[in-house]
Amino acid sequence: MSFHNDIDDIRECLESGGKVIVSIDADEIWFGESDDLFTPGDGPNHAVEVIGIDYSNPDEPMVILNDSGNPNGCGEMVPLDAFMDAWEDGNFQMIACM
């Protein structure tokens, strides 16, 4: 387990065949587009598995999650910017299993 990682740490782990779990502020993923649904909290409140990063559209890279908090969370696609904001709230914590 480590903190202060970046997206390349996740990518390298996945490319090496590893598994990655990160702690995030899930409200930013689930309700991030709402102007009226937010909380004062800025800590991590959920763990998700990152299963891939999709750079096929360079203008809008997507992070692919297994998110148990979302009924459609298996393979959930989240814009990289939104993911980074949610991940930052956990000080970019990551558990990598090789």
Binding site: S23, D35, D36, F38, P40, G43, N45, H46, G90, Q93
Partner: protein
């Protein structure tokens, strides 16, 4: 002397502090508005930890009681106290599993996410001003103190005020008590 303490950075550093991690505060708890106090002649900051549970309904996010508190000396960021309030006799009548209110409360219901964030950031800057004035004798005016009071009284959840009062009556009387 140059201002060197930023309360948001102190809070951020805490998230990956080894002592803090060993306190095993469950995931989902987040730091509330900090309490400033002088202990043993040193300026200390106490972060109260509580949780919010989003229900998916606007203004019906559940606010739970403050459950943990962690106190650090400034500017060293040395942790001097951690407490699980469930084991504090003063809070024996609190049911920590039961929500005490909703977010957003009435006085801030008109503020969207961006406006709330702007007010929150302004309040954190007021914390920085008072902290640095106490440590480094930087400028601090009566206007700053007035604005910090206004912002705290606006943003702190009314349902949490009794706990703030119980945690630190001096801070409560200085910044949170109305009238």
């Amino acid at each position: 002397m140059e201002q060197t303490v930023f309360i948001e950075q102190v809070k951020k550093n805490l998230k990956s502090n080894a002592f803090f991690l060993n306190c095993k505060i469950p995931m989902g708890y987040t730091a509330g508005f900090p309490i400033l106090q002088v202990r043993n002649g040193s300026l200390c900051v106490t972060f109260p930890y509580l949780r919010y549970k989003t229900t998916g309904v606007v203004d019906k996010t559940l606010v739970y009681p403050i459950r943990y508190m962690i106190t650090m000396e400034l500017p060293t960021e040395k942790i001097v106290l951690f407490e699980d309030l469930e084991y504090n006799e003063k809070f024996r009548n609190i049911d920590f599993r039961k929500p005490v209110g909703y977010f957003r409360h009435e006085e801030i219901r008109q503020y969207n996410k961006a406006r709330y964030k702007a007010l929150y950031d302004e309040l954190m800057q007021e914390y920085d001003k008072v902290i640095n004035s106490l440590i480094y004798c930087t400028d601090y005016s009566a206007e700053d103190e007035k604005r910090m009071k206004e912002l705290l009284q606006l943003l702190v959840e009314p349902s949490l005020l009794p706990m703030y009062k119980a945690l630190d009556n001096d801070f409560y009387n200085k910044y949170l008590a109305k009238g």
